[in-house]
Assembly symmetry: C2
Homo-oligomer: 228 residues x 2
């Protein structure tokens, strides 16, 4: 591993910002870690919410990373067919110690071909799409298969990042960060997964995401045709 | 409540970005909600991490909000003695339906005098400091006392925001957002509170925060002298 430890997260239009900001909070808490936010250009990028994200470096200027991390969101539909993005990820992955994602960021890794034959996690709504890339989807918060470490949907990014810190540094460091972030969750409801959500809430959500789901499948099929 | 629902979060230098970005992800998922990121000026503001935050409006331009929310972080030391900030919060609070905070954002609310005689939550390391402002600190993830709704440390902001959405809209909406964010947490370790963290991790963290803790108490005492 390089010294300092170099962790880079992709930033892109319509990223689900919490996929990124959760892990960034954890990674930034590692003393001496260098955290990069990377995009094609240095200009601020709109997230999926009111938050604008400012990259700290570009594909061209980014140093070789120890960890490359791809967050998810609706913006991944464009990324899975964007050769400039996929090339950057393939080049970084070749030299990185860990190749990682949160949520539907795994679809982008899938589109690079880097998850073929690997188990991987993703957002609950994207497991079948992930399989198009030759990955074996798992329904866990964090999935470790050799040097591919992938997190489930959105908030799983926090569990993912703490797990990764325990691997990169040690368990005590991960626990200290967990304590600092008071990560002692107490969700007020029990609707955080399709298995526990009330049936009508799951039905509502499936109806609401149906149009974006169709676009996601369409984009992934085109991407998968190139790498499979 | 106004239509659209107007939720405003304070942005400031050295904010703990996850205190803000967790709730913002939840609030932005409410269809039709208007989420504002507010600071004195419109220029980007450095957070506690590599992330730069771009305000969407200024104190002068911000409309009357239904919900005003103050996140925490080291930057609150400056805020508790910043009359421009405290005046803005007092004015908004007078017309807002809910006056809220995450983490040490409660110290800033305390410095406005708005928590005198109220129960309130804060980061585990700040409970005694919060008491300087006449509040009764609670060790819960979310504390509701009349129209003051306060969250505990950092990640408690997600529990806080889901709770608030269930009050502002309804439980089904909060559950749908929880499902979308796959908020089904599975922390890899059990170190998220002083009660559960290994003794050596708690000791390490207390040692590490001692200098900032001293600054926090100093700032809060000066602020409390004005409102108490």
């Amino acid at each position: 591993m390089s010294s300092p430890l170099r962790i880079g997260c992709l930033v892109f239009p319509r990223v689900t910002q919490l996929d990124l900001t959760g892990p960034v909070q954890v990674f930034s808490s590692v003393p001496g870690a260098e955290v990069h936010l990377i995009w094609k250009r240095i200009e601020p990028v709109p997230s999926d919410s009111v938050l604008t994200l400012t990259p700290t470096t570009t594909f061209a200027d980014c140093p070789q990373l120890d960890v490359i991390c791809v967050p998810g969101g609706f913006g991944t539909d464009a990324l899975v067919n964007d050769e400039e993005v996929l090339d950057f990820l393939r080049k970084q992955a070749a030299g990185a110690k860990y190749v990682t994602s949160v949520c539907t960021g795994s679809l982008v890794l899938g589109a690079t071909g880097l998850l073929k034959g690997y188990r991987a996690a993703t957002h609950w709504s994207a497991t079948e799409v992930l399989a198009l890339f030759g990955a074996t989807p798992t329904r866990t918060r964090v999935c470790i298969d050799r040097n591919r470490i992938t997190g489930g949907g959105v908030t799983a990014g926090i569990d993912f990042a703490l797990t990764l810190v325990s691997i990169l540094v040690d368990r005590t460091m991960a626990e200290a960060i967990q304590l600092r972030l008071e990560y002692n969750p107490a969700p007020p409801f029990n609707a955080g997964s399709p298995e526990t959500a009330p049936a009508e809430v799951l039905a509502l959500m499936k109806e609401r995401i149906a149009p974006s789901q169709a676009r996601r499948i369409e984009a992934a099929k085109r991407a998968a045709a190139r790498v499979m």
